[in-house]
Symmetry: C2
Amino acid sequence: MKGARKTKDLLYEQVARIGQVFSSPKRLELIELLCQGEKTVEMLAREASISLKLASAHLRELRTAHLVETERQGKNICYRLADKSVAELWVQIHTLAEERLIELQMALQKIAAQPDDLVPSDRASLMKAARKGEVVVLDVRPTEEYLAAHLPFARSIPLEELRKRLAELPKDRSIVAYCRGPYCLMAADAVELLKREGYTAIHLRDGVAEWGLAVSRQE
Amino acid sequence: MKGARKTKDLLYEQVARIGQVFSSPKRLELIELLCQGEKTVEMLAREASISLKLASAHLRELRTAHLVETERQGKNICYRLADKSVAELWVQIHTLAEERLIELQMALQKIAAQPDDLVPSDRASLMKAARKGEVVVLDVRPTEEYLAAHLPFARSIPLEELRKRLAELPKDRSIVAYCRGPYCLMAADAVELLKREGYTAIHLRDGVAEWGLAVSRQE
DNA sequence: TCTTCAATCCATTGAATTATAGAATGTATA
DNA sequence: TATACATTCTATAATTCAATGGATTGAAGA
């Protein structure tokens, strides 16, 4: 009976290793970035606004938990999620956090300043409209991330180029902008810019990971 | 632009609060126990083999993260999960851990000593057989947990009473025993006992949380 | 071969966390 | 009202973790 306790403790300790990885804000941010596709340490560090060394240390944690894989590409080392289910767990965790933590709900409301900036309709009808061309789904992430994966029917105009490429977008149809997910501010910025310029624009909170999980669920 | 970083950091910090909760082995064990139904602090402490004070401290963490709710019942205080999605996240995390951590896989194999002790078939066909009465689904958890929730068609014989109530079980049909989940040893013990006594018994790793999530997925 | 550059390893600091013991709270029962 | 009991709160020691700077590795290119 004593041995049983030890055995059990060992099992929970192993699972806690995974929970551990998801317990640091910076690691979560790195995971979200890796959900957008594979990236080098330098890219990850820059986009998470941390030092190379710190990024490397956090990535080491991810690697020892077997949640990411690495591959050398010339001078750089590329990190990618070891499995789709890692992205799914990230979505699962931040969704639960949004459900349970009022502070998080309030902080998220501030991002989409006007509540009507958000996409109200369900995913199915949005896709239907996108298929018919009634709305333009706009991916404002960097091009590499769009190429790695994007929503169906989405067009790519990175936020940085948006101002110069406004002419590519129609003024007589709604534009639905999305980015990396609910914690990424690019889509909100894009919507703000587009509205100032006279476009009809709304903000889709989902990124590819959130969308993908929702789609796989309803099947 | 500086403010944007601060805003983002705040968001990830909130999500990390949830990850934090799942980063301690003892808290995971408490969560798994709460997946079986509501329990008092004393019950939780006893079943997780920790002191009352430590259990209270861990439960406090769960409460401040709004993952559990409490209710006074006479002298005792009852804890329960605040939402079904907390149980789902627990299942999701331990499933990912089992997928990614070889150490965990090996530790789990030792529990079900003989590999053929495990239920091989899919859930649908198991339920079909249970409905027809071709197999007996046996819940070996304490009665209260069975009453709080159990698998369809399951009968309740707590592990403690099993030896004395063997006569209730048929020898001409397979018995499928389950307990709290893959880290609980009760079903494995039950199978061992039943086989020694000449029954045909196999071990279902799922608990009600695992089963419930799998069922809700395939709909 | 030598240099450059990306990334990791190692050691250190300060902060946070786990676990334990003693005091305090608040409800039920005598 | 007084006492017993379940639980929480507070304080503390031991451990672990995040972050940083310096030294090191290892492949790419001159």
